[in-house]
């Protein structure tokens, strides 16, 4: 069906970006079950194999929190609060259930606030460990099996190893397509703007994997055949680092000030797409290893180096590679207030990147455009500084 194959990829991305979740809503109306989930730790392969539509949840940075605060403290990270507020207001009223992976305290400590308030037919807290050693991989496999069992009970269908293996292939392919699209950002100027890319990333996480892949392929084809890149002006090449930044507002602030967002290390961006699941005889092994060891999230403790420098390389080395490959001039580290996992590593990341010669701007903010004016000034000053 996909229009994207007919050269309308960006239009379709815009549609799914601005009407977030609309495709899942349609599929629900057509009789499919829809499971919402939070964060990059949602094991999409298993949900795909279960035959449910998985929808990664986002909030709306333009919308003030009006209902959620009656149930959830303001010391919870603003992203989680905003998504919760959206859910309470009925924006996701078509969900059959949700999966909350144990990403951080803001999620772990609010699990029952979510479940008791939303009262969805299916609920699961996936207790992902924060450590990556061998016993943790074994444990991760165990909790993935529990997750599978609960999904089977919910759908009434067995999730076979074959179905999981097929889903692994489909999601790996999806990631490969996205990496191919990212590669179009390497040129100067990049063939796709940061704002366009954000819309594709957001749209992609709202679709079943086959439709997501078709969308990405469609956008890639379209971009490749573009006569003119979005802007021929030279601009400082920026990489954005953070957790779930899922709106164009901050990117427009960067690009509006003459910067070019050419790469990210975001949890809806490269963190998601850079690492595949290995096809292992027991497909759960590969899935456990990817989510625990390959996803470079600050919520997993990595202590594998023989010394501190090696440990830093294991944690942040990929960022240096991105800087080189995407010819990044400056890094913006964007962290939400009350986020301990990201917040505690700001000095380390900053030091690591700056000591390799790339300047870093650290911004702490809300998940809201209300404070954007203040940030814009700092972004402009940063871009001027690195000009």
């Amino acid at each position: 069906m996909t229009q994207s194959e007919n050269g309308n990829g960006l239009v379709l991305a815009e549609k799914y970006y601005s009407q977030y979740g609309s495709r899942a809503r349609e599929l629900k109306a057509a009789g499919r079950k829809v499971i919402g989930y939070l964060t990059a730790l949602g094991p999409v392969e298993i949900m795909t194999a279960a035959g449910v539509v998985s929808l990664r949840l986002k909030g709306n940075v333009s919308e003030a929190i009006t209902k959620g605060d009656a149930y959830m403290e303001t010391i919870v990270c603003p992203f989680v609060r905003n998504v919760f507020d959206a859910a309470v207001k009925g924006r996701y009223d078509f969900l059959d259930g949700m999966v909350l992976p144990h990403q951080c305290d803001s999620i772990d400590r609010t699990d029952d606030v979510w479940s008791d308030t939303l009262k969805l037919p299916y609920w699961h807290f996936l207790n992902v460990p924060h450590v990556t050693d061998e016993p943790s991989v074994e444990f991760m496999k165990d909790i993935l099996r529990i997750f599978i069992q609960t999904l089977e009970e919910f759908t009434g269908e067995k999730i076979t190893d074959e179905a999981i293996a097929r889903a692994v292939t489909a999601h790996n392919e999806n990631r490969r397509f996205m990496r191919e699209l990212y590669a179009l950002r390497i040129t100067d100027p990049p063939l796709i703007s940061g704002a366009e890319m954000m819309k594709v990333l957001v749209a992609a996480m709202s679709l079943p994997v086959d439709e997501s892949s078709a969308l990405i392929k469609g956008v890639t084809d379209e971009i490749k055949h573009r006569e003119m890149p979005p802007s021929t002006e030279q601009g400082r090449r920026i990489m954005l680092v953070g957790d779930q930044v899922d709106d164009v507002a901050i990117i427009e602030a960067i690009e509006g000030a003459g910067g070019r967002l050419v790469m990210d290390d975001l949890s809806i961006g490269s963190k998601m797409y850079w690492n595949d699941v290995d096809a292992t005889p027991d497909p759960i092994q590969g899935i456990a290893e990817r989510y625990l060891r390959k996803l470079k999230l600050p919520t997993t403790f990595v202590g594998t180096g023989n010394n501190y420098q090696e440990t830093l390389e294991a944690r942040f080395g990929h960022m240096k590679q991105y800087i080189e490959e995407f010819k990044v001039d400056g890094v913006i580290l964007f962290v939400y207030k009350f986020c301990d996992p990201y917040g505690f590593e700001v000095p380390a990341i900053r030091n690591f990147i700056e000591s390799a010669g790339t300047p870093v701007l650290y911004l702490e903010d809300e998940y809201s455009i209300s404070t954007l004016a203040r940030l814009k000034t700092r972004i402009e000053a940063f871009l001027e500084m690195i000009a």
Partner: protein
């Protein structure tokens, strides 16, 4: 030292001995360095006490250090130090306070910063954390500390427990959790062996597990003496008497301390000697770490005729028989079972009361056992672990238990900038009026 604050007058002699205890713990780290013993930065309730003690590793507790700085109203200089290197003010202030101290000591080439409370903590030989299901700082804090103490090896283990889900029987998952916790404890043993150059003495470890279980039992027996009317000890004291069970678990000193406290409370009960002369209202401290710089607020409650015979905070122990632990001789497995069951042992009860939750069941149990007329929560902005979800607990409590007066106070553990004494006292006044009306209604 910053502006002083008159300390709260303590009801028990045992609580008055705590300053010495805390000071002793801190100076033990400095002394250990002189004696060539290994010092580890450690974090409370991680289930790692017996292993560290069995390996003669002296723990240096960041939470204690930060708490002392806060109680002396002298944490700001450390918080600012951390903030200057981009640690947000919204992060756990126990961690940022301690990291600020570490940063400063490194700048001084390893010398303790001037005016550090009670001589400060020693520079550690290792950092032992746990990404257990208590909070993110438990594994981010060690990692962030290593940024300043780069030569110091870090271990982070894990110890989870089955999540609460009213529709699932958590007992089916316990074995997975215990297996994992035990494996992680073994990883810790290997780490300690590597960095001390000593082998674990497994018999000694088993003896320390016995001692810990005995201490948990005695601690609960002692605290249950507070059920008496009038109560002989309240939460204001418990914020002191928690020190041995929290920071000195698996030591004879901790056991002996509760023996003394037990004797003291029995005596007080015999004499019907309460915390205050005319006990009018009995309150439960339902959740939340206290504002260490404002412990005097407990006195304020006392002055209004209110006492706290029980609290959830720092009561991280239970009578062993209530945990119904499976028999095993493996000390690591015993530690794993004890903690997994501690965190989950209100689940079965909660499942029996539709709409309830384990945290609320625990609150209800204390309200009933300790005959409380109201519940006070404290919401500290820099710690999500204990403080996110309090509104929800209060809501469930109202729904499943009834309309008991509830006060949610807001502040922080260390960061005094969030605190306003006048506002706090006004809120307490209004709450006491509500409790009074509630009691008059015959509840």
């Amino acid at each position: 030292m910053a502006e002083g604050k008159k300390p709260r007058s303590l009801a028990t002699q045992a609580a008055a001995k705590i300053a010495k205890f805390v000071r002793g713990n801190m100076s033990a780290t400095l002394k250990a360095k002189e004696e060539g013993k290994k010092v580890a930065y450690a974090y409370i309730n991680d289930g790692q006490d017996e292993i560290m003690r069995a390996m003669d590793i002296v723990p240096a507790w960041g939470e204690s250090f930060a708490g002392v700085c806060a109680a002396k109203r002298d944490a700001e200089k450390y918080l600012q130090k951390a903030e200057a290197d981009n640690f947000s003010r919204s992060l756990c202030t126990y961690a940022t306070c301690t990291i600020g101290f570490d940063m400063w000591r490194e700048e001084l080439g390893g010398q303790t910063p001037p005016d550090a409370p009670w001589g400060g903590m020693a520079r550690p030989d290792m950092i032992i954390g746990s990404a257990q299901q208590l909070c993110d700082p438990r594994f981010k804090w060690p990692q962030a500390t290593q940024h300043y103490l780069q030569d110091v090896p870090v271990f982070v283990g894990n110890m989870y427990y089955p999540p609460w889900d009213p529709n699932r029987n958590h007992h089916e998952q316990e074995a997975i959790y215990v297996k994992y916790a035990k494996a992680e404890l073994l990883e810790l043993v290997r780490f300690c062996e590597k960095h001390t150059g000593k082998k674990m003495d497994w018999d000694r470890l088993a003896g320390l597990v016995d001692l810990t279980e005995k201490t948990w039992n005695l601690f609960i027996d002692t605290y249950e003496l507070r059920k008496a009317i009038p109560t002989p000890m309240d939460t204001g004291d418990a914020m002191n008497t928690m020190v041995p069970i929290t920071f000195n678990l698996a030591t004879q000193d901790a056991y002996d301390y509760y023996k003394d406290l037990n004797d003291e409370l029995i005596l007080k009960n015999e004499k019907k000697q309460g915390v205050i002369e005319n006990e009018k209202y009995r309150l439960l401290w339902g959740a939340g770490l206290p504002s260490w710089f404002a412990l005097g607020d407990f006195q304020y409650f006392n002055d209004k005729g209110a006492v706290f015979p029980a609290e959830v905070t720092y009561r991280n122990a239970e009578k062993i028989e209530r945990l119904d632990l499976p028999a095993t001789n493996d000390p690591l497995e015993r530690i794993a079972w004890r903690w997994v069951r501690f965190w989950t042992h209100w689940y079965d009860k909660a499942r029996k009361r539709p709409g309830s939750s384990p945290k609320v069941e625990r609150i209800i149990e204390y309200i009933e056992d300790y005959k409380c007329d109201g519940v006070v929560f404290h919401s500290a902005f820099s710690c999500r672990s204990w403080h996110a979800g309090i509104i929800h607990q209060a809501e469930i409590l109202r729904k499943v238990y009834g309309d008991i007066p509830i006060l949610i106070m807001e502040g922080d553990i260390v960061d005094i900038s969030s605190y306003n004494e006048v506002d706090t006292h006004n809120r307490i006044d209004a709450f006491i009026e509500t409790v009074d009306a509630y009691k008059r209604k015959g509840n």
